[in-house]
């Protein structure tokens, strides 16, 4: 049943120009970012004396910065992907179709999460040409690439869960998208708040609740149990809230 629901959502994405516009824009912007990072890196290398070139790390200056920028792009792209998933159903009163069928709320939420993730993966797939460039300059660290893609994918899952919840509480797509953007920004700001707080315990709590520290660790390939628990809890909590929000709307 989840496959039927997932397929319908994926078909809906790819039968409208939105998916292609998003994939195209994402490829273009991420391409420009990658190119700029490469140019900055090579300019930096050329400006240094030959013995000092190793002080500028390609991984630090290009690879990690590129994926950090991809994460930044998600701030705009993921709310655009998730905004209509429930709000459009609420506006068109099509949710009745599911409440009249034996489908359970969680199956609907899971299938929409998977469909949104499928579109994000399609966008990330295009960035697959960049590892080829990296391969060309002699960086063949597949572990690093794997963890970088895993890190942005985990963040994408968290943002999708948050975006779906925002979509479930509003019948207006624009409001749903704005709430998602604010929600993601809030997740980033909590970490900054943690850095600014002088109290050690409060600082640690803020840093754990915020997504940035988990993303940075994942990006560097040091994904720990606490990060896995964080992402799993985050997605579960927001999916649960979405299920409850749909149930409450029904009541």
């Amino acid at each position: 049943m989840i496959f039927t629901l997932w397929k319908k959502e994926v078909d809906a994405y790819f039968s409208s120009p939105l998916a292609f516009v998003l994939i195209g824009l994402f490829s273009l912007i991420s391409g420009i970012i990658f190119f700029n990072l490469l140019v900055t890196y090579t300019d930096g290398i050329q400006a240094l004396p030959p013995n000092y070139t190793e002080q500028i790390s390609f991984v630090e200056e290009v690879v990690l910065k590129f994926f950090a920028n991809v994460n930044f792009l998600f701030l705009v792209f993921i709310p655009l992907i998730t905004m209509k998933l429930f709000s459009e159903e609420i506006r068109q009163e099509t949710l009745d179709l599911y409440w009249l069928s034996p489908i359970k709320e969680w199956e609907l939420v899971l299938s929409k999460t998977l469909a949104a993730f499928t579109l994000v993966l399609s966008m990330l797939l295009i960035t697959g040409v960049f590892p080829l460039v990296i391969w060309g300059v002699g960086i063949r660290d597949f572990h690093l690439l794997g963890t970088s893609y895993l890190a942005v994918s985990l963040n994408a899952c968290a943002y999708i869960a948050l975006g779906l919840f925002c979509s479930s509480i509003s019948g207006n797509q624009i409001i749903a998208a704005l709430l998602s953007v604010l929600g993601i920004m809030f997740l980033w700001m909590i970490t900054w708040g943690g850095h600014l707080n002088s109290n050690y315990v409060v600082s640690e709590i803020f840093t754990y609740i915020g997504i940035t520290s988990h993303f940075e660790r994942s990006l560097r390939g040091i994904l720990g149990t606490q990060d896995i628990i964080y992402y799993f809890s985050f997605v579960s909590i927001f999916s649960f809230l979405t299920v409850k929000s749909l149930g409450r709307r029904n009541w």
């Binding site: 049943m1 039927t4 009745d96 409440w99 009249l100 069928s101 029904n250």
Partner: protein, 309 residues
């Protein structure tokens, strides 16, 4: 007759507002049950509660002997609903949409079933078109198709012919009649003549309260108080003194092109037509018309919903 649906003292309350209050009625197996009421009377709310997509605040609804609730998934394939706004995806093709609905309900041969339903509702010619591009009439047919595509034995149709052209109304009405051969239908409409044509039983709801429920003929009988007789006399003729026939009231008088028409409401229900005819003729008056008027459903509806404000 077996009662498929029993609505027992059902209430629906929203903060600061009671949408449905102590509603009780039953729907017999194999019937088309008309559900009438003005806008905002609580029809759609009641229908959604029966469909199990809106929980009740109090009371109980039993369908096929099982209590209806949003959590009772056993009943989901037993009931088809065409809400006031059909749940349609404008960016899906008709055939794809119907197959999707059939799959949601676990129909094993979804393709065959969809073909059959599309043929019955004359949707085959638009099967490959996007729902959003269809006319209102076709959209309503697709809405009806989604309610019957999984062959549920009980259907709830909320104003299925509202706002459609006469040809489509006629076709849909005919189709609903055919459906009632092996299905039970709860049907709401604003067109009272349509309800009279299609339904054997009716329920009238007003301001969230059930005003009348039961067999249409019984309701007619209950509503009729005394005897209403329409008399046509020659042009310019006046009504003689009919005091000997008991207490009565002239509820209507109009001068038509051929006759003077009077509608008399007698308190007594005994049939006085022959005596009344003879009485008028004996007085040298011309008797053009004389017949008993039965109350129209419209009269009953207006009486139930307007005079009880």
């Amino acid at each position: 007759m077996d009662k498929i649906l029993v609505v027992d003292r059902v209430c629906k309350e929203y903060p600061g507002r009671v949408a449905v209050s102590e509603a009780s009625f039953a729907v017999a197996k194999g019937s088309i049950h008309g559900f009438l009421g003005p806008n905002g009377a609580g029809k759609s709310t009641t229908m959604k509660m029966i469909a199990g997509i809106l929980p009740t605040s109090a009371g109980e609804i039993k369908l096929f002997g099982q209590t209806v609730s949003p959590e009772n998934r056993e009943l989901k394939n037993q009931l088809g609903l065409l809400p006031e706004n059909a749940p349609l995806y404008p960016d899906m093709k008709v055939e794809t949409y119907l197959q999707y609905v059939a799959k949601l309900h676990g129909v094993s041969k979804a393709k065959d079933q969809v073909n059959k339903v599309m043929e019955e509702l004359h949707l085959t010619e638009v099967r490959a078109r996007l729902i959003g591009n269809l006319s209102k009439g076709f959209k309503q047919r697709v809405g009806l198709a989604q309610a019957i595509v999984y062959d549920a034995p009980f259907l709830i149709l909320d104003e299925p012919t509202n706002g459609l052209d006469p040809q489509t109304v006629f076709e849909l009405r005919d189709f609903i009649k055919k459906l009632s051969i092996d299905k039970t239908i709860l049907f709401s409409s604003h067109v009272l003549s349509e309800v009279e044509q299609l339904c054997n039983d009716i329920t009238i709801i007003h301001k969230g309260k059930i005003r009348a429920s039961g067999n249409l003929q019984d309701i007619h009988r209950k509503f009729r108080q005394g005897l209403v007789i329409k008399i046509g006399l020659g042009l310019g003729e006046k009504l003689p003194d009919l005091g000997s026939f008991g207490k009565f009231e002239v509820t209507h008088h109009s001068s038509l092109s051929m006759e003077e028409q009077f509608i008399l409401n007698f308190e007594s229900e005994s049939d006085i037509r022959s005596d009344l005819g003879r009485f008028i003729l004996d007085r040298g008056l011309k008797l053009m018309t004389l017949h008993v008027e039965s109350p129209e459903l419209e009269d009953i509806f207006l009486h139930m919903t307007e005079t009880k404000k």
